[in-house]
Symmetry: C2
Subunit: 335 residues, 2 copies
């Protein structure tokens, strides 16, 4: 059986392009003692992928040339050798990379039940994006009932969960998203109090209008001009959660720092970075809570699923163009 | 008796200039019942003055045209009327503004003992700059023994106290200052472990060399390129205290935001603004502790004193040119 893989071939300067990756077809790995073979069904596509390709210090080791492209994934165990952590038929999720098969001793892989929710949800709301939202808004944002919470990338994998959790906790929630469809979605489907379309509205005026008391917590997935606008509307002792900066990831030169950062001084506010891996010990607790909210209909998960490992690059670009509806997922199993 | 005053006449766009203020000679105010008349001896000059002149939202009301220029001050009560908070001969410090005499009911004025330390010290290390340093480094920076602490504006009124307190608490302290004389001063006189001369050294390389383990706490008085450099050397869970941004105060256009702010994410660090007024209830406790350290020789205070209210503008510009040695003070009493 061949194992199609997306290999990382060239570090991009600016946006990734057709030279960044190459599709390779290799043999399925031979299992060592204690290993399991996973047939991967779905791959998670995340903006963080862009950062992993830079050869610079960050929260995780940079990728090396010829590595299988790093990605979260989910699939089924189809073979084992010796004494292993999982059995054939187990559904497991981990860092499988953009490939169809992966061999592992099971470290940092978790068994999940695909009968409770569909597989893609385990790499979406019950996976890294959901965990990022959960710990980011609760432990870093420290939301309180009555807070005004603003979240950018509001229709995306992280932002949609951030806003829904804030609603569950009794906050007023304003989402920022690109385009009418996404804005309608977060208000009408997810129950946000308001949405701002950054493509057609003046973000400064819209924030002022929609947050008359000011912002208590701003959860930032985008950076750039939107972060600068949020800084102008902070209440006293506000918290800014720095989760990402998708507007800046493809800059070939310097990224744009927040010109209005001195608002932190005037309002005695805090800007804090977070990385979801720090909360690994509590993933189980979060998954249980979020699973409960999903069953109660309080937390919705939406995945935008594309098919075919050959379409990885095209699908990847949707992360940055915004041409997607919900968490971006690639189905790599061939049926 | 005439009362010479510096009046605020025109909001500067960029740096203040000769049109910003005018010297006026008015009569000494007539006391109302419950008021005291203070003859002011010393005026405090602080970088924050530039911000007060902007007509924009900040931590304190903007000044209005024709106001006496806002300033901290110290002087002696020379007259009273009716039942008053202070008596003739009391030495008091408060917000007297840039003028020779001020009448007040005593609200937000504090009586101090000029026999313990000289008057200028009460508007320096035992005044707002010292309080800013004390609460900023202890309560916002949350220094621990063994931390590597970096402070910019290290020879200045706030920075010099920040570094000395960090040394008292067992930290490794690296100061950043402009010029060899200031660098020698903070190392040889104040006991900092090292100093970086931003005028002659590459700040990125110098921070890397002097902070081999990285920075645990960066206390920022300057913003701009130095803040950006500090961000590249953060340890995990570092704290950045945003106290000021003197490099940016005179920008006519947008200020320079920290391009490297995503280091907060990679290192899970926090950037927090602080305003000293929030700690007003604990000023007494801090003054007692710092007074103790001064008597023990652990905390040194240095003021650079100029004379004559007519020289206010010239002295003010030293705040930004850096042409000063220690806390900038103007003596306004005429002898």
């Amino acid at each position: 059986m061949p194992n199609k893989q997306i290999l990382f071939k060239k570090r991009p300067n600016g946006a990734a392009n057709s030279e960044t990756w190459a599709l390779a077809t290799n043999d399925i790995p031979t299992l060592q003692d204690g290993e399991v073979l996973i047939q991967q069904h779905y791959i998670s596509l995340d903006p963080a992928m862009r950062g992993w390709m830079n050869d610079s210090r960050s929260y995780i080791e940079p990728m090396q040339i010829d590595d299988v492209m790093r990605a979260g994934s989910i699939g089924l165990v189809i073979d084992t050798k010796g004494d292993t952590a999982f059995q054939v038929g187990d559904c497991v999720t981990g860092w499988g990379g953009v490939q169809q098969y992966v061999a592992t001793n099971g470290e940092n892989w978790y068994k999940v039940d695909p009968n409770l929710v569909p597989m893609p949800t385990y790499i979406s709301t019950l996976g890294m994006p959901g965990m990022t939202a959960y710990f980011g808004i609760l432990e870093v944002g420290k939301i309180q009932e009555g807070d005004t919470v603003v979240v950018s990338g509001a229709a995306g994998a992280v932002g949609s969960v951030v806003g829904q959790i804030a609603k569950i906790k009794g906050c007023t929630v304003v989402g920022i998203a690109g385009g009418k469809e996404k804005c309608d979605y977060v208000v009408n489907e997810l129950g946000f109090d308001a949405a701002i379309d950054y493509k057609s509205e003046n973000i400064y005026r819209a924030l002022k209008k929609n947050c008359p008391k000011g912002i208590d917590v701003y959860f930032d997935n985008v950076g750039g001009e939107i972060l600068d606008a949020a800084l102008t509307q902070l209440r006293m002792r506000a918290r800014i959660v720095i989760c990402g900066a998708i507007s800046q990831y493809n800059n070939a030169g310097k990224i744009k720092g927040p010109s209005n950062y001195l608002a932190l001084l005037a309002t005695r506010s805090t800007m804090q970075g977070m990385v979801v891996m720090d909360y690994a010990k509590k993933y189980g607790e979060a998954a249980k809570q979020m699973g409960m909210w999903m069953m109660q209909g309080k937390l919705k998960s939406r995945e935008d699923i594309y098919e075919g490992i050959e379409n990885f690059e095209e699908t990847y670009h949707r992360l940055f163009s915004g041409d997607k509806n919900g968490k971006l997922v690639l189905k790599v199993i061939e049926e």
